[in-house]
């Protein structure tokens, strides 16, 4: 289609000479376009696709990441994955974490966005405050909250005699994930609030006025008017927050290092630890391949289901 721009432009004298000249011009235009994309495509292949393929390749070997030689072992790593308690635990932890994180992040973000969209004082100030966590380093935020959980909260608990606060939840194998979840939500909401807020601003105000004349209450208004309009934002936020929480890494490194025991070891942390220092390069490569497939399937599935719901509304 874009080619027509050149052919439409009729030259004054349609001689063979000028046609070939025009062709030459078209060619040099295309050469320039190729030169613009090919180096980038090459680099992308070398530094992104090639390592990914290498990862798949190593997943069929028994390489430990250090020695010079290794053997092909077929699907052995994949079969062993499903029997390794550390791997199974990391999948259980990561999924529990990601589902809860996605649900809480979306409920809280939507609630705060509705609040910011209401007739309030100092909206821009609040908007700036709520977005602040998004610009901070996850790792440093994790370190700060680590101190809150290990020192501040137990201190308060003892001072005011609140039993459940007196112990450090990050040191408890059954509760440490809650601490990480709280910090994850604290930070991830920032981005989602802003997205929902920009969605809410597309809802036509006349609709609210008409419906309040009809006597609809706030609850009805939300489900009948607001939610259908922001449904596409809900879809995107659900998919993105689920995907991000499945990849949780920095928070855990800063707060528990995967412990106590292996209770908060996420899939990416397990791949990192096992692959680099555990001598499980090939085994964790197989884990990474499965992890990739899982993320892919979940994202596509979520998009399909949520989009269908959107259309039904």
């Amino acid at each position: 289609m874009k080619n027509s721009q050149i052919t439409i432009e009729k030259p004054p004298i349609s001689s063979a000479h000028s046609v070939s000249k025009r062709k030459k011009k078209v060619n040099s235009r295309m050469i320039a376009f190729y030169l613009m994309v090919l180096p980038a495509a090459l680099l992308f292949f070398v530094f992104h696709t090639f390592p990914a393929l290498q990862g798949i390749y190593y997943s069929f070997t028994n390489w430990n990441g250090i020695t010079l030689d290794y053997d092909f072992v077929g699907f052995k790593n994949y079969l062993n994955l499903f029997q390794d308690p550390a791997v199974i635990d990391s999948y259980v932890f990561t999924f529990k974490f990601a589902i809860l994180a996605a649900v809480f992040i979306n409920i809280i973000s939507l609630a705060i966005a509705l609040g910011l969209n209401a007739k309030i004082k100092g909206r821009n100030l609040f908007r700036a405050v709520y977005f602040l966590p998004n610009i901070l380093s996850v790792l440093i935020v994790g370190f700060i909250f680590n101190y809150v959980f290990t020192n501040i909260l137990p201190g308060l608990g003892e001072k005011y005699g609140i039993e459940f606060l007196t112990t450090n939840i990050l040191g408890n194998a059954n509760l440490a994930w809650i601490g990480i979840l709280i910090v994850f939500i604290w930070q991830a909401c920032a981005f989602n609030i802003i997205l929902y807020l920009s969605g809410l601003q597309t809802v036509p105000t006349e609709l609210y006025e008409a419906s309040s004349l009809d006597g609809a209450n706030n609850w009805n208004q939300f489900w009948k008017i607001t939610f259908p309009v922001i449904a596409p934002f809900f879809t995107i936020n659900m998919v993105l927050s689920m995907k991000n929480s499945l990849m949780v890494f920095d928070h855990i490194v800063a707060m528990t290092g995967g412990g106590p025991g292996y209770s908060t070891t996420s899939i990416s942390l397990l791949i990192y630890n096992g692959g680099f220092s555990g001598g499980e390069f090939a085994f964790q490569s197989a884990n990474a391949v499965i992890y990739f497939i899982v993320i892919m399937v979940i994202s596509v599935f979520q998009l399909k289901v949520l989009q269908k719901r959107e259309m039904d509304m």
């Binding site: 990914a52 290498q54 190593y58 609040f126 440093i140 981005f191």
Partner: protein
């Protein structure tokens, strides 16, 4: 219909924002206290400002070196990303009817779904084999990995620019390169801002990629330095928090002045 200020919601929003500001207050407060004051109360306002915590933190972590590393890496990532990614996106956007370019578009964008851990183990071997386990390699990886998202954002925008502008320039004898640099590149300014903001936030705050790629501690970025020194901070919380605050300060200061612009840029990038 005139509506009055909803004070209930205003108060709820204010209480909620305290939850956001509390960890920052805590950081500033602990960074300014000495151990005795901290032992008495972590939450109280700091009465005597112990600035020496900061000088100690600067020395202990070699702060200015890390600041320089982070700044250099972020700056070159930003400049190279904007110059190259927009150019690739332009070539793709104007040739979407051609199979090769369309394939390339999906090739780049589909990388958004590929989680980093599958690349992580081999890329570390690869960068160290190529001698790229240093800031240069890190910048290269940011520019290359950023393409997935940035090309998606740029292509969407470029396709909304009418081609008539370019046609006129071509008739005047302008080359494709000239068209891009003289006409398209300046027109992309609003979207450069979006891509630039997203790229800066990513490169500045990223932890995992510097952790696995950088080989020499002297090259460490600000977040990485906090991690490296975490064991040394031990229980010297005043020193640790002074260091955290120093590491976060540059971004917070920029945010104070440019928050409206930063939020706008991030929203535009997400809605595209």
């Amino acid at each position: 219909m005139t509506k009055r200020t909803n004070w209930t919601v205003t108060i709820l929003m204010a209480l909620g924002s305290l939850l956001i500001l509390f960890p920052l207050y805590l950081t500033i407060s602990i960074a300014l206290k000495n151990p005795q004051e901290l032992a008495q109360s972590a939450l109280s306002l700091p009465l005597n400002f112990h600035w020496e915590n900061f000088t100690r933190a600067i020395e202990a972590t070699n702060f200015f070196n890390a600041l320089k590393n982070s700044s250099v890496i972020t700056f070159f990532t930003l400049v190279l990303t904007i110059l190259t990614n927009s150019m690739v996106a332009y070539a793709i956007a104007r040739n979407m009817h051609r199979k090769l370019f369309k394939t390339l578009y999906y090739y780049f964008v589909s990388a958004l779904f590929i989680p980093f851990p599958i690349i992580m183990l081999p890329i570390v071997k690869q960068t160290s084999a190529l001698g790229l386990n240093n800031p240069t390699g890190l910048i290269l990886l940011y520019v290359v990995y950023g393409m997935a998202m940035n090309i998606f954002i740029y292509v969407g925008y470029i396709r909304s620019i009418p081609v008539e502008l370019e046609e006129a320039a071509i008739v005047d004898g302008c080359s494709t390169w000239g068209v891009f640099w003289k006409i398209i590149f300046p027109l992309l300014t609003p979207i450069h801002a979006t891509v630039g903001i997203l790229t800066c936030l990513w490169a500045w705050n990223d932890f995992l990629l510097p952790l696995v790629i950088l080989n020499d501690t002297a090259d460490a970025t600000l977040p990485l330095v906090q991690y490296v020194f975490q064991t040394e901070f031990g229980t010297d919380y005043n020193l640790a928090f002074a260091s955290y605050l120093l590491a976060m300060a540059p971004m917070i200061i920029i945010y104070l002045f440019a928050q409206r612009w930063i939020i706008g840029g991030v929203v535009k990038g997400a809605i595209k």
